[in-house]
Symmetry: C2
Subunit: 211 residues, 2 copies
DNA sequence: AAAACTTAATTAAACGTTTGTTTAGTTTTA
DNA sequence: TAAAACTAAACAAACGTTTAATTAAGTTTT
């Protein structure tokens, strides 16, 4: 789908306000004002507020797919290195698209089978399948141990990053990092999260579980 | 604050619907209908929808405080055992009060300094202080290693459990657990999460980080 | 103990806003 | 000059809240 300048402005304004206030909290007039267009343009271009949300999803999910497929083929790097690259990729994507990820978190909390919920479901399933392959490759080669609950492992990755973004003000405050500008702080978060998750994953994947 | 039967009904209805649909998504008429009371009773008893949300928080945060204070004094158990008890306690509270925790997650996503946001902030700060003591005790005794990023560790605990609850339908589906009834599935989640987090925390706290 | 009075609980209806969407008309573009 | 882009205004529906009237419960007076 090719979007005009105004349509892109609307999608970006919607992304910002849906992330800040939620779908019901952000009115179409808010969005139109933020995008600097007439209210009617939203219905005119997207049909409805609901459809606008779907357009946001179609637009933002294109840049969000993990680069795990190319990783699988690569034979020059170790299995653990592949996992580490995956972690870096995920953390990067999440931080650079915070707004959209916040929208995803909200939508997942809703107890309904909306079109958007299905999109998220498919996205997660596709990601999980790829990662499963990557882990199982490592298991076959003996680099990773058996009996890994991959879904639970992914839950920790997604959950840790989500929680960090959600509570970043809290993290800033308790660590006395309020002097930092936004860019600098994002870099720090990225670094800390990556190192932390790589450490955790190494333990999950390669160390024997204690019983 | 002592609440009458109807007031409790309103608070519980609000908790359910705020969790399902969010603050803006749940109308006062929805809530009144769910609680089987007249719409006007909400303003009559609580003043406003906003104040009702605050009442929900005051009511539900009373049963949510972690039992970490008593743990600190106890000298009969090891430092790692204390952490394990803390994990069990947290997982239990989260699963048994899913609805309220979903509300908390949503509220944390909002970029505003609402009274409710302050309540969450204080709750988290208090919890963090207690856990800090518990960890530092273990460090002084030599049971835990130095240089632990406690906030990051807590982010993983909170994040993993949150993510599991948020995406529990997904977890059910990919593990072919859809035949399970709700109670049985909650037991499984509780067990899996506890074991997983205990394993992770043991690594974070006692194993030397690889560099 | 009955009647009178007071306060609290409860209701249906109405209030003024704000909501998402549509209309009918105007301007711009090709 | 026909199609597309755009606008201000109007639309009905839903929103949170208030009102005015009624019922229930409790207290005081006779």
């Amino acid at each position: 789908m090719e979007y005009s300048g105004k349509q892109i402005a609307i999608i970006n304004a919607a992304t910002k306000l849906f992330a800040e206030k939620g779908f019901d909290g952000a009115s179409v007039r808010d969005i139109a004002h933020e995008a600097d267009v007439n209210v009617a343009m939203i219905s005119y271009y997207f049909g409805s507020k609901e459809k606008l949300m779907e357009a946001v999803f179609e637009d933002k999910t294109n840049n969000i797919k993990l680069k795990v497929e190319n990783l699988l083929q690569d034979e020059g790097i170790s299995h653990l290195q592949k996992v580490n690259i995956l972690i870096d990729d995920y953390v990067d994507k999440f931080i650079h698209q915070q707004e959209f990820h916040k929208i995803m978190m909200r939508e997942q909390l809703i107890d309904k089978n909306t079109p958007v919920a299905c999109l998220i479901h498919e996205l997660k399933k596709r990601n999980l399948e790829s990662i499963k392959k990557l882990i199982q490759d490592g298991q076959k080669s003996g680099a990773f141990k058996k009996n890994i609950d991959i879904v639970l492992m992914m839950t920790t990755m997604v959950g840790t990053v989500s929680q960090m973004i959600t509570a970043q003000h809290f993290y800033k405050k308790v660590n006395n990092l309020e002097h930092m500008d936004e860019m600098e702080f994002q870099k720090l978060m990225r670094k800390k999260l990556s190192a932390h998750l790589k450490n955790l994953f190494k333990q999950i994947l390669t160390t024997d579980e204690q019983r």
